[in-house]
């Protein structure tokens, strides 16, 4: 699963910034239930635990206000062959000019790109989060300078948190997706002025 996502390393031919895939043991929290549940009692937690027990989840994290809990099951491994214990960290795909990958048609609706601006696009489908949990500060914001390999955001898919790293060095000039909204493959996430 992770290899198929490391698009930039495999397809790039020019000596462009080449982010390395890295592994990390730190697990970003699952997106919190950000509803109005501000307080929760023991009975509620028990019922949540029972619910999670019945569901075929490997892991469950919950956070509300100050509270945070996490359930992890040691049942049969999940049927899909993904490293379930650790979040997957992946690089954003490198810019792929049309002459490099001719099989991918240029997106006809893409506006004319500003010179010097690189777009970090989503390598997967999922829900976009700017920070590791709702109370944390965003990984990056406009005006920040980022370097290759630096985590820019998290995309949640199939209950897994995937850290998306920058594939270039430069200044973040715009965050193109709202926090908590779905993104599709190839969707532009950040505009970065290279340099």
């Amino acid at each position: 699963m992770s290899t198929s996502r490391k698009k930039s390393a495999a397809t790039k031919k020019t000596p462009a910034p080449r982010p390395a895939a890295k592994s990390t043991a730190t697990k970003p929290s699952a997106p919190a239930v950000k509803a109005s549940i501000q307080t929760i009692g023991l009975e509620e937690i028990k019922s949540l635990i029972a619910l999670v027990g019945r569901e075929p989840f490997q892991e469950f994290e919950f956070e509300a206000g100050d509270m945070r809990f996490r359930i992890r099951k040691d049942g049969p491994a999940p049927v899909f062959q993904a490293p379930a214990a650790a979040p997957i960290v992946m690089a954003a795909p490198a810019p792929s000019p049309a002459h490099h990958i001719p099989s991918v048609p240029a997106a006809p609706q893409a506006p004319a790109d500003e010179p010097g601006i690189h777009y970090v696009t989503s390598p997967i489908v999922g829900t976009f989060y700017r920070s590791s949990n709702p109370t944390a500060t965003p990984f990056t914001s406009p005006g920040d300078f980022v370097k290759p390999g630096q985590t820019l955001c998290i995309i949640e898919a199939m209950k897994l948190m995937n850290e998306i790293e920058s594939d270039v060095a430069g200044e973040v000039v715009k965050v193109l997706v709202e926090n908590g909204t779905p993104v599709e493959y190839g969707e532009r996430l950040f505009a970065v002025r290279i340099g």
């Binding site: 048609p105 489908v125 190839g186 969707e187």
Partner: protein
């Protein structure tokens, strides 16, 4: 690149029955993705299309309510990429996934992932798919259910003496096959006991050379079998009915080219027997969803189980036309836990339907012909159904299969269906790429096709004929 779009959809009208699902994701592309979208639209179900970067302008994307790009052009990175498909269902809130045919449709693992993620897979259980996908296990199940299997050796045949005994039991001609084999190598057809020892030894020697393994097994060899398959449908309440048979003998290298229903050669008694057997086979595995049991039929009216397909078939429209039953809508109802909407007694085969698969290929060499369709006109009028996702100026990407359209002709009888298929092919215009339409047009005029005298071997002899008469292209 665009964000995931939600299109305005008219509010469901009052008279429609409550849709079986609110939102369904279609994990496929091309005509079958569009076919499922049409069924969903008719039922008031919202649709989510997934697509690769090569399919950005495809019609299944245009006509779905929502669309999610799931990866680059290669199938392995998009349509076969399970995490991406599941994530697309999650972010759009789709309750169920229709897999179409091909891609993930018979992938038991994918079915399990759907289950684990709380998404309904529109198809049978992973267990059924595994069981019918494993050849040995499928055969054992069929044997138990009293479904006739191709007579053959019980496992490997170790010596000439054993080969002679087996051949005597199952009757000549027999075929000796390398158990590691494929592509015709390590394979010998024997007509009698005299030639068996030599051919048996040659097969082993060839198998050794080709695969490094000289183990062989034996089966009865049918000279000119017909491919007859039965459409069945089952629900979660144990109801299984058949929707009659399809004749799919016009095939090339196991790729079906033309399918029809009913078969021109089945007597009512034989039809009854084959269809009943198929229902028995499906019941034996507790089957639900649409499924197809494929048989080989020999000249004496004996038929033998080949395999079961646990998904909607490319050729399902011919059955829909003769029975009036919408197979895809029924799949959706079944997956939502509804009972079959009809009984066996309500299934009536009326008229005759023929399907020609129009592929983007050289009609005589079968080399793929991807490219841009510069002009397009699909035939219409009475008795013609076209299932396609093509449009003028569409570009056929080289990454996927080459089928551009299914042309289906319906008539009161086989003769009218053939006549309509002819004029449909005569009024089909596809410019910019080569297609197999001229080949189909010739087959429609061939005396063997017209009389129904063909087997799965027929295309070979027909292609030979074509070599000697290449100019006879009727277009």
């Amino acid at each position: 690149m665009g964000a995931i779009k939600r299109k305005a959809t008219p509010a469901p009208a009052a008279h429609i029955d409550a849709p079986p699902f609110k939102k369904v994701l279609i994990a496929n592309r091309g005509e079958i993705a569009l076919r499922v979208i049409l069924a969903c639209k008719e039922m008031g179900i919202q649709t989510v299309a997934v697509y690769s970067e090569a399919d950005r302008n495809a019609l299944h994307v245009r006509f779905a309510d929502e669309e999610v790009c799931i990866g680059p052009a290669p199938s392995s990175k998009s349509y076969l990429n399970i995490p991406q498909v599941i994530a697309a269902a999650e972010v759009t809130g789709a309750e169920a996934i229709h897999p179409g045919y091909g891609f993930l449709s018979e992938n038991a693992h994918f079915v399990e992932v759907c289950l684990a993620c709380g998404i309904t897979f529109i198809g049978p259980s992973a267990e059924i798919i595994r069981r019918m996908g494993n050849k040995a296990q499928a055969k054992a199940t069929m044997l138990e259910a009293g479904v006739p299997l191709m007579p053959g050796s019980d496992g490997l045949v170790e010596t000439v003496e054993e080969a002679l005994v087996v051949a005597e039991q199952i009757g000549y001609p027999v075929i000796v096959k390398a158990s590691a084999g494929g592509g015709g190598r390590g394979m010998r057809i024997c007509n009698n006991a005299e030639e068996l020892p030599d051919l048996y030894n040659t097969a082993r020697t060839e198998a050794k050379g080709a695969f490094g393994d000289d183990s062989v097994y034996m089966e009865k060899y049918l000279l000119e079998p017909r491919h007859i398959e039965v459409q069945i449908m089952g629900d979660l309440f144990g109801n299984v009915v058949h929707l009659g048979e399809r004749e799919c003998s016009i095939q090339r290298r196991h790729q079906k080219l033309i399918e029809e229903s009913p078969s021109a050669v089945l007597t009512p008694e034989l039809r009854q027997r084959i269809c009943d057997t198929a229902v028995r086979a499906a019941k034996a595995v507790g089957y639900y969803n649409a499924g197809t049991i494929e048989f080989l039929l020999d000249k004496r009216g004996d038929f033998f189980f080949m395999e079961m397909n646990t998904r909607v078939q490319v050729e399902h429209p011919v059955t829909e036309l003769v029975t009036g039953i919408d197979i895809v809508k029924e799949q959706l109802r079944i997956a939502a836990g509804q009972k079959l909407s009809f009984t066996q007694a309500q299934v009536v085969q009326k008229g005759h339907a023929i399907e020609c698969r129009i592929n983007a290929e050289d009609p005589y060499k079968f080399t793929p012909s991807p490219g841009r369709i510069s002009a397009l006109h699909f035939p219409g009028g009475p008795g013609i159904r076209v299932d396609t996702a093509m449009h003028q100026d569409a570009v056929i990407p080289p990454h996927y299969d080459s089928m551009v359209a299914k042309l289906i002709a319906y008539g009161a009888d086989r003769s009218e269906a053939i006549a309509r298929m002819r004029r449909a092919l005569d009024t089909l215009v596809i410019e910019g790429i080569k297609t197999t339409a001229p080949l189909h047009r010739r087959i429609m005029d061939h005396p063997d096709f017209i009389s129904g005298a063909f087997s799965t071997k027929w295309m070979e002899t027909f292609m030979e004929e074509m070599k000697h008469n290449p100019a006879g292209d009727p277009r």
